[in-house]
Symmetry: C2
Subunit: 303 residues, 2 copies
Amino acid sequence: MRPTLSAAALALALAAPVSIPAAASAAAHPTQAEVLAASPASDWRAPVPENTLYLELPAGRVIIELAPGFAPAHVDNMRKLAREHWYDGTFIVRVQDNYVTQWGMPEETPRPMKTALDRLAPEFTVKDGAAALPFTVSPDPDAYAPEVGISDIFPAARDPRTGEAWMTHCYGIVGVGRGYALDSGSGAELYTVIGHSPRPLDRVITLVGRVLKGMELLTALPRGTGPLGFYEKAEQRVPIHSVRLAADLPATERERIEVLSGQSATYVKWREARRFRQDDFFIRAAGHIDVCNAMPPVRSIDG
Amino acid sequence: MRPTLSAAALALALAAPVSIPAAASAAAHPTQAEVLAASPASDWRAPVPENTLYLELPAGRVIIELAPGFAPAHVDNMRKLAREHWYDGTFIVRVQDNYVTQWGMPEETPRPMKTALDRLAPEFTVKDGAAALPFTVSPDPDAYAPEVGISDIFPAARDPRTGEAWMTHCYGIVGVGRGYALDSGSGAELYTVIGHSPRPLDRVITLVGRVLKGMELLTALPRGTGPLGFYEKAEQRVPIHSVRLAADLPATERERIEVLSGQSATYVKWREARRFRQDDFFIRAAGHIDVCNAMPPVRSIDG
């Protein structure tokens, strides 16, 4: 079993697949890893400190980069919530399998806000200014939208007929919990997608960002046994010690990570290497990739 | 926060969405729950005992229904492995976030097989007989295949140009670990998808079934910290006490669950209710659904 298990394991998640169109040689076609290794530093960027939240959990840190291009009012409000330390002492309250991990203040202990607003008009789509958002179009069809692609580091969709753009519900994307009232969300209650991407939620919830690091701290949790995956006992909740903006930490204390720009030449080369991944294990290139399987990669910088 | 949190939580995973085409009334359009509640018993079926495995883990039972229509030789071999108790005392050895949970015999303790074969020719696609497989076509486009839909209870794809059909890598679908050699899998080493569906694996791995119950026992596990998400320490592995075919248990001891037939009229009505879900929270119907978000639902029968 040794060669089989190790080879299967290796092959099942090979970090450096070889992209080989039929009848071509591997050498002539760089792998995803080779594309990234050859990329200029200018194709990568650090998370924007004013847009980056550090969630401190007992098991470690989760890093979320916010997307003011898609939800400017919510991002501004979340900066206020972080700066008034509103999030400190909140909890992960819900983990529903193949759906979402949700966090915020348990309903029985409401917490007033000082500088932030507790209701905001929804930002489900970008209308004015959508054309100004960067957008690298994906070449493959999407079940849900006429056009999908990557805007900066975020998966997104556009509708040429309406001129709207919106972020898409992919694994690790962060959304704003709300009630039935469209203005009942504020960025105080949040969730992230932990299963197959629930794209029917697109355009009915305000999406605010993307988890860049520490996703496993939100996914490898016991599923809640209450309705909708809520934890039934207070002691099951995972405490959130603090949430800080990277901008409010000394530069020396910020995580040394970078994300590939979705508008870079490297991103397109990397996406094509994924679309046409073919190697000793991937004997047949899919020739396609969906937007939630093609989010710009994150790398850590040895400090 | 009470109404907001509870309403948001309710709405985020509402079990009974209302399907309301624009300018129509809710009453005239059944919800997914209403469609299922009104379904005839004949549209549902119990898991086929000869095709159903019960994995007994310390935390409970995982139920997998195998798909002989897609991988007859592997399913036959897995029946042999279960009946010679080969799986008993194996372990979950790998949990890679947003990818797979994998189980089998750790490579340092190989276990010979008595009646089963340790290598099988791959069953990546169905060629001969593909036209005979039941298939309910999905109406929405797919990034990876010319045609997707549901075959029996399994998500699947077809290529009219080649006449081939294959199961698709959706959340909870079970695949056969293999090495680089195409015939190096046997059904002894298995994995299931625990994140966004990795469809590029379609047609390069033999898919054998679907988890029908207990998925959370395979997803809410610590992610492995070794390469590819393998557990680095033996004590981190999750023991699999036993794996039995439902057919080998007395009928009174079999799980009382049923799955909706993908070929039933109810399935199409239910899928349409999902495609056009619109209610007080889902203010805008997606009007679309992807195949991995439309697998036939499972229900338990009160015994």
